[in-house]
Symmetry: C2
């Protein structure tokens, strides 16, 4: 069975040395989050993930979910108990406001826990993950009454949540959606329509399921400006908070998917179901967008999470599997062959994954802390700067960490040879599960267009200029540090490529937007390469500082620096290729007549 150990030590390096969490102790909730407390909390979370969630991953994949003739859905054996353990541990409300039963801790901690949960069991982790997304939306847009009705139960974890956007004919282009909302005399709405791909839409883990549903109020404008957001509970809630009648919403069928078999992906039928408006009428997309940054960040984390767990298993296998001899002569002459970790191509593969994982984790922690600043700081300038960062980095984290998370899981699978293709080893599942992260919560091509088409030019390019300034300043400050030479120079070069690509869009994409479209995905990856390169430079600097400390930390810090060096030498040079592609423009891409494809 696959192994998993949550990378608490690596997270603590980030929170102690790279982005010291103590600096944030003026923010609400951070005063309680001292490094020791954080380490203790993450240790508990790690235990739950390693001992309860992970052992159910393979069996959950093999068993899948079952829909019964009455529309009810059974999740795989053990999922319900594991979910209950998660809820009982207070994890659902880790970062939720105390007034609704949460612990009010930094949301960054929750994001870190999401990595552990997703590595251990992505399909299972999606049930609470979607609930947290729904909680976030209700917190921002729900009326006091709605918040009082739903949030305490959701934060406690006895009710779960979902998001209902997609319909058979529309996913990306929500302007086409047809689900109707007709006002009832009591102020509620009757919701009618079909939603597809609804994760956790029906299951046996909770007493109630709180669906957030996009629908069009009768008579509303066509397109995206006529869409409203509704809360539609599976079971209606009485005035006293007790559960009442079953609402007119049900699971019509389950999808058969490539992966995340343990999560129930439902076709949801709304047949005059009672729903209540969240936020303003016709402003439903805006309400959704508020929670989208966090949701997309969470999906990026899932990509990293699959790469991490796949990596851990590949390393274990590479140390164990005896096959062939080292090119420089036998390393274990007493054994019938050397373990495959002696082979350069195996090490190259493992280091590529490791270098990605650690940079991606840093990017996630950095961005998650910004999310806390954006929501909790009392300093407007600081909030704005953090919000700029979030807007810019969200599509990068989502798109790059899932594209590469999948790619890295595939590489890890390759280390197993034929055994990687056999389901019992679990590597196939990591790959199949990782694949969805590139698709849901906005397919990665959409992330790239969001970055290039919306985020770059926003507020006169304030966010991207802020990023350039920060990375540029880092390079300048550390240019004289001989111990960082192998980091600062390639970072500077990568930054230069990113700046050139940005400039190229400014000069060529205004008049001809196809130039932006044809270069968007390459730009997103170029951005990711530079952002991860910046993370490596910062980590290398922190590791150099820590090396002097002694206490047996030097070897770990050396490993950190070596991994960063590998990134700079082998992965960072890709920025030049990305720039070259972008600079060719859209001509070759757009010239082909559709019928000649």
């Amino acid at each position: 069975m696959p192994v998993y150990k949550a990378p608490v030590e690596d997270v603590m390096f980030l929170l102690n040395d790279v982005f010291p969490i103590e600096r944030y102790n003026n923010l609400p909730g951070f005063a309680d989050a001292t490094p020791d407390t954080v380490e203790a909390i993450l240790g508990e979370g790690a235990k739950l993930c390693e001992e309860v969630f992970a052992p159910l991953n393979l069996s959950g994949d093999q068993e899948g979910c079952t829909r019964h003739p009455d529309g009810s859905v059974t999740t795989p054996k053990g999922f319900r108990q594991a979910y209950e353990a998660y809820a009982a541990g207070g994890w659902m409300g880790l970062a939720a406001p105390e007034e609704y039963g949460g612990q009010g801790l930094p949301s960054a901690l929750n994001t870190i826990m999401q990595e552990f949960v997703s590595s251990a069991n992505l399909a299972l982790g999606m049930y609470p993950g979607l609930t947290q997304g729904a909680i976030a939306a209700l917190l921002v847009h729900g009326s006091d009454e709605i918040k009082k009705t739903y949030l305490p139960k959701m934060v406690e974890g006895v009710w779960t949540g979902t998001m209902n956007l997609t319909e058979p004919h529309c996913g990306t282009d929500l302007g086409l959606l047809k689900t109707k909302a007709v006002p009832n005399p009591d102020g509620s709405y009757a919701i009618t329509g079909t939603k597809i791909f609804i994760s956790a839409g029906e299951h046996d883990m909770a007493e109630n399921i709180v669906h957030l549903v996009l629908a069009r109020i009768e008579g509303a404008p066509a397109g995206t400006k006529g869409i409203s957001l509704f809360v539609v509970p599976k079971v209606l809630v009485n005035r006293d908070g007790s559960l009442g009648e079953r609402n007119g919403v049900s699971c019509g069928s389950l999808e058969h998917k490539m992966g995340i078999h343990g999560n129930a992906t439902c076709v949801m039928n709304y047949d005059g179901a009672k729903g209540w408006l969240i936020g303003e009428a016709n402003r439903g997309l805006n309400a959704m967008f508020v929670m989208m940054n966090e949701a997309r960040l969470a999906v990026g984390v899932q990509g990293l999470a699959q790469s991490e767990v796949a990596y851990q298993n590949a390393v274990a296998y590479a140390k164990d599997r005896l096959q062939g001899r080292s090119l420089t002569g036998p390393k274990f002459p007493d054994k019938p062959a050397d373990p495959i970790i002696v082979h350069p191509d195996v090490r190259r593969t493992l280091l590529s994954i490791k270098a990605f994982n650690e940079a991606a984790r840093a990017l996630v922690v950095w961005t998650a802390l910004k999310s806390d600043v954006a929501h909790r700081s009392s300093d407007e300038a600081e909030r704005q700067q953090a919000d700029d960062h979030m807007g810019l980095m969200t599509p990068v984290v989502k798109g790059v960490l899932t594209d590469l998370g999948f790619d890295m899981a595939v590489r890890a699978q390759q280390m197993f040879g034929g055994h990687g293709y056999i389901e019992e080893w679990g590597m196939s599942q990591f790959v199949r599960d990782a694949r969805i992260t590139m698709i849901y919560e906005g397919a990665n091509g959409i992330q790239a267009m969001d970055l290039v088409g919306r985020k770059l030019g926003k507020d006169g390019g304030r966010a991207i200029m802020g990023f350039f300034n920060e990375v540029g300043a880092f390079c300048q400050e550390n240019a004289g540090d001989e111990s960082l030479k192998g980091f600062v120079e390639p970072l500077q070069q990568g930054l230069g490529h990113l700046q050139q690509a940005t400039m190229w869009f400014m000069q060529n994409a205004m008049a001809k937007p196809d130039n932006a479209g044809a270069g968007a995905t390459d730009y997103m990856h170029l951005f990711g390469l530079v952002a991860m390169g910046y993370m490596w430079a910062k980590m290398a600097k922190a590791a150099q500082a820590r090396k002097a400390d002694g206490n047996g930390v030097a070897e770990r810090m050396d490993a950190k620096i070596l991994t960063g060096r590998f990134y700079m030498e082998r992965m960072m040079p890709e920025t030049g290729l990305r720039l070259a592609r972008i600079s060719t423009g859209a001509d070759a891409t757009m010239a082909m007549p559709a019928e000649m494809f």
Copy 2:
């Protein structure tokens, strides 16, 4: 259900215009292969694949194979009949010698047919594919008696074949294998051991299954020099050719795999089974290597094949799916949205796949024709040159066409958004099926090591120098052709990178072989990029020549040239990145202590 149309037209462009098959008409079997005949044959093959094989692909994946308590295996519904139609059509022996019932046609035609078969139904196509591999081995190494006993039935298709190499503890490193062969008094051997991952090891399609098995004769040296090859039939064959008793070999279980569910991947138990030596004792690996070039070429073709069929379905979906509007204003204002093929990022994705598919197909046809020359030419110099080409290009075709074939299938799947993740659309299957091609017949890291460690330096580098000379001469000859400027210059640059990388190995890998190991995969892909670039330059030249012809061919030729231009602009520049990685050497890769991974 997924669609498939065999690319006969594209193949005929290659055989008429790029590598004119008429030039080979002095080779045995080619005189009958006039362009008209070839087109007619491929048309028949296309029909079988489109109408019989393809409709069983999705259902075969969903149903899978079933092993019964008596060890017998049932293949998915329809597979047996489809296989019988293939055998009845004479496809098994298309290129086999007429004396054993074959048609003696060029093996290049068989390779082309393998693409069609693998696109239509990879799992089904593996049954005859493995049989053809076994036929090839018996042809070269079998005694006359053995050939007479087995080949006519195999060529007819009433018996199928397998290859039994892998054991639980050894795949790549066959020197570790334990299966034993003990001489019987009658000249046969008693074979005992367990083989795993045996594709088509047991099934219900044929009267008999002819296993080729690697085993160690009692008392033979340890390691690779003590391995012999045996033929072990499932049912013993009487002297008169009729079937006798059941042999001591059986299927112990079926593997549960990520894909190719329709193919029975068996654990095979040999329990004193009767086997006969093929070729010399202790030279079994050499006997296997002879057929390995063809087998690896066939697996490369499977990678291309999955990319091709995934591409065709992605194009159909992109023309059909309405979502969003073109960046340059609505293209279909009367529809609720534009088809997604108007979006640059969708076109970029599709063109990447198309540019790969067509170059890969050219590389396959070129190499397959060389295989015919190597086996059939009466001119020794020509044979040697063709053999050099085969040795050099085989790992490239296997490694690059499967790495990219998988990657391209993933990209095609991405075009479907959430629908790509749902099994009923078939895109998940193409990805899952493509994944095995990177692993079996030598995992791709092994292909890279074969290229760098064995093929580059062989015969003083004769093969690689031959390749450099050919591509260099092409560039020189066409340097003045203005219409090929966009092809020759990038090709020249890519060739330069490949030459620099080769030189770097010569200078740095002799003393330090890890430098070769750490750069091998990048080198293999660098080679692939240049080889495919050369294919595009040749195709562009041929297309330019054809454009003048009229007959409505101009539009198709323009599409060919545009696709090639896309390759040169967007894909060829990757050569620089590959060179940069190789040139960093092995230091960062080898420095990390194993326990710090």
